[in-house]
């Protein structure tokens, strides 16, 4: 029952949101394919080269590379490829149209494709589109591609989890964190 506003945006952000219907087998299938494609450095299956370039640039704006890997380094676009051929297939036309629109905007600005613009120019164009279903959907897909379990095609080598300090492990023993460790130490000291 938490973060309700943000949580609800998951539904709104992905445009149409038919993706929330059950497509579990399709996801697994798409994810397997995405994982194979990524490891082979292969082409994308469900999105074209021009779209892949735009989605790479947009996802790296959302979760940019710095001294640490960014979204595309982590395989987010491979995740998107699988998702747009699977559980988010309903959003694929809208995403493709959004990519084309960004390329057109870039072209009328400077004659280049969106991915060829400077980082600052890309940011400006995206800021003007923050509230569009396209940006909402790509934002959602980017974060899924970065942070969801690697079985879904992104989150290469679980690097995002490593960066945030998450360890996927089924059993832990207390103390769990700094403050409960200190709490137990104080209790021990009190007794001694």
């Amino acid at each position: 029952m938490s973060s309700r506003r943000a949580f609800l945006k998951l539904g709104g952000g992905a445009a149409g949101a038919t993706w929330l219907a059950l497509h579990a087998p399709a996801i697994v299938k798409a994810a397997d394919a995405a994982a194979r494609a990524q490891s082979a450095g292969a082409d994308f299956e469900h999105i074209g080269r021009a779209e892949a370039e735009v989605l790479t640039a947009v996802s790296d704006q959302i979760f940019p590379p710095d001294e640490r890997p960014g979204a595309s380094d982590l395989g987010a676009v491979y995740f998107m490829d699988g998702a747009l051929g699977g559980f988010m297939a309903g959003a694929a036309p809208m995403i493709k149209q959004g990519c084309a629109e960004l390329n057109e905007a870039a072209s009328s600005l400077s004659g280049l494709a969106f991915a060829e613009l400077s980082i600052e120019q890309q940011t400006t164009l995206l800021q003007a589109r923050e509230d569009t279903p396209f940006f909402g959907a790509v934002h959602f897909l980017t974060l899924c591609g970065v942070f969801a379990a690697p079985e879904h095609g992104g989150n290469r080598e679980r690097l995002s989890w490593e960066l945030m300090g998450f360890q996927p492990q089924h059993v832990w023993l207390p103390p769990f964190g700094h403050y409960d460790a200190a709490f137990h130490e104080e209790a021990v000291n009190d007794r001694s």
Binding site: S3, K9, L22, Y179
Partner: protein, 559 residues
């Protein structure tokens, strides 16, 4: 999913003693108690029979896609509106009535907070007087009458905890010691004590030690919203239902979606009509039917069962079926602390503050509630990134600053969840949508709900208190989510309220419908008031009590 061996299979033409609709917190208890008492029971559950090996830590499937909350076989949409003046809109994201469709029901995916209600919850109307525009009422039973069943539920289910300073009187302690404290619990305790409050260990239906053949919690962290892979969460899936099946008198029939309870010429219920996973129609004959499908599906089914004899739906002479929906109010505070908390480990809640439980007329509005510390949905990587990116404190939800905050926040975040009373308002209700249908032609569930202004005021009041606690605990940064009418409810209460007067209630004090002698209703819908949050223990205490009376009626030929 492996096929589950039901142990016993009844023929649909067998006139079994009880057909129970729903296998969740209440249905599971009723199935176990009645089968142990010697009766033949069929439990119809719309979800599949998932067990520990079917559960995972996969956020995309479980949380984002709602693997357990969506209908397993077809699209079953819901609509929502705040007022009967509005046209309800279909909801594509989180369903307005959020519950789990799986054997064990919402007890499989809950966080396991097991608060008892207190004596005042049962008689607050008499103590405080009426509240205009609401159906604020006393219960027909008292805390003292329910107390033995609270104790029974805690011991039969397996609850870890320790009594707090304001707890209601109890006849027996908890069966298990409290769960180990987390950093969020330490900080809540520290901040609350500085303010002179009285934090206490959270009672939870999660095992701190081995209990009745089940292992203790492994602290994996994937608890709220997920099924437990250790069987340490005390769902009915791993407590009541296996014991019911072990009697050889109880069949749990999964993937069975009831669409109608049929009546005969004598005005008694005669069979339960349902759809299997392929949409094929079936009917199970039964001498009596117990509806335990949750506070949203239960009234929906009664309304769907209308006929010329019952034009307003079954058991609805009062006109109150579906009305007085209560969800408990919720508000949220967030904070960052200097050192790493690792809130992604272990269970959601280890400490609570119940100093504001009782209503206080000095506040200028009705209400009471509790505060707990927990990671909320920030305790798993993807949900953390999605929610902090969409509703968090940052000026931008993308870019370098966003990345820095997502990665920093995961280990430094703690949330406080404030849970409050909900006033019963007649215009908050479950009805059948007049237009939208599910893929099988059943009318979609329509929720009309807007929190009462006093509920919203109480949510805000506790948020102010929580902010003081976070500040006193030394948070480096804190912020709050805006308080606004809740768009979805995970607690579904009050829609077939219990009472002595058939004109103002749907079931009597023994959960028998006032109008149909062999139709019983026992789940969240039975509650007359909402409590202060965490209703499941009360629902199960009611189920243990109801089972005892229903068994007595059956033995005495009084059904």
């Amino acid at each position: 999913m492996t096929d589950h061996d039901p142990g016993v299979r009844f023929n649909e033409r067998d006139n079994v003693d009880f057909a129970i609709i729903g296998s969740g917190a209440a249905g599971g208890v009723l199935a176990r108690e009645l089968s142990r008492a010697g009766f033949h029971v069929v439990v119809l559950e719309q979800g599949p029979y998932r067990t520990a090996s079917d559960f995972s830590h996969d956020e995309l499937r479980v949380f984002v896609q709602g693997e357990m909350t969506h209908h397993p076989s077809w699209n079953d949409p819901q609509t929502h509106r705040q007022s009967s003046r509005d046209k309800a809109q279909a909801v594509n994201g989180i369903p307005p009535a959020l519950y789990s469709r799986t054997v064990g029901g919402a007890s499989v995916h809950f966080s396991g907070n097991y608060w008892r209600m207190r004596p005042i919850d049962f008689k607050e109307r008499s103590l405080l007087g009426s509240i205009a525009g609401t159906g604020f009422s006393d219960w027909p039973i008292s805390y003292e009458e329910l107390e033995p069943y609270y104790t029974k539920a805690e011991w039969e289910i397996g609850v870890s905890g320790a009594p707090g300073p304001f707890d209601a009187p109890r006849s027996k302690g908890y069966p298990l010691p409290p769960m180990p404290i987390k950093s969020s619990g330490v900080l809540l305790e520290k901040g609350a004590r500085k303010l002179g409050l009285n934090p206490q260990p959270a009672p939870v239906a999660i095992l701190s030690k081995p209990y009745r053949g089940r292992p203790p919690c492994g602290h994996c962290g994937f608890c709220m919203g997920f099924g437990c892979e250790m069987n340490a969460k005390s769902s009915t899936l791993v407590t009541m239902l296996p014991e019911a099946e072990a009697t050889g008198r109880c069949e749990i029939r999964p993937l069975s979606t009831v669409f109608r309870i049929a009546t005969n010429k004598a005005g008694r219920v005669s069979e339960v009509q349902y759809l299997d996973k392929d949409g094929q129609q079936h009917a199970q004959k039964a001498k009596a039917v117990i509806l335990a499908a949750n506070g949203a599906e239960t009234p929906r089914l009664l309304l769907m069962s209308e006929s010329s004899a019952n034009p307003d739906g079954l058991a609805n002479g009062s006109g109150l079926v579906g009305k007085y929906l209560m969800g408990n109010g919720h508000s949220v505070n967030h904070a960052y602390f200097e050192h790493e908390l690792n809130e992604w480990k272990s269970i959601q809640v280890t400490r609570i503050v119940l100093d504001f439980y009782e209503a206080d007329t000095g506040r200028g509005f009705y209400g009471g509630g509790g505060i707990d510390a927990r990671p909320l949905v920030n305790g798993s990587p993807l949900m953390h990134a999605l929610t902090i990116g969409g509703g968090g404190p940052m000026p931008l939800r993308w870019g370098k600053a966003f990345k820095d905050e997502v990665l920093y926040g995961f280990n430094h975040h703690v949330g406080l969840l404030n849970s409050t009373t909900s006033l019963p308002v007649e215009s908050n209700n479950i009805t059948l949508d007049p237009e939208l249908k599910d893929d099988q032609g059943r009318p979609a569930m329509r929720m009309t709900y807007r929190d009462h202004d006093d509920d919203l005021a109480m949510m805000k009041f506790l948020q102010d208190k929580s902010e003081e606690i976070l500040s006193a605990a030394g948070a480096v940064k804190y912020w709050r989510e805006p308080v606004e009418p809740q768009p979805f409810l995970a607690h579904l209460l009050g829609t077939c309220r219990m009472g002595d007067d058939p004109a103002t209630s749907v079931v009597d004090r023994f959960h028998r419908s006032h109008e149909i002698p062999n139709l019983f209703i026992c789940d969240g819908s039975s509650l007359v008031s909402s409590g202060r949050g965490q209703p499941t223990l009360t629902i199960q205490a009611l189920a243990f009590r109801a089972a005892e009376h229903i068994a007595r009626f059956a033995r005495n030929g009084e059904i």
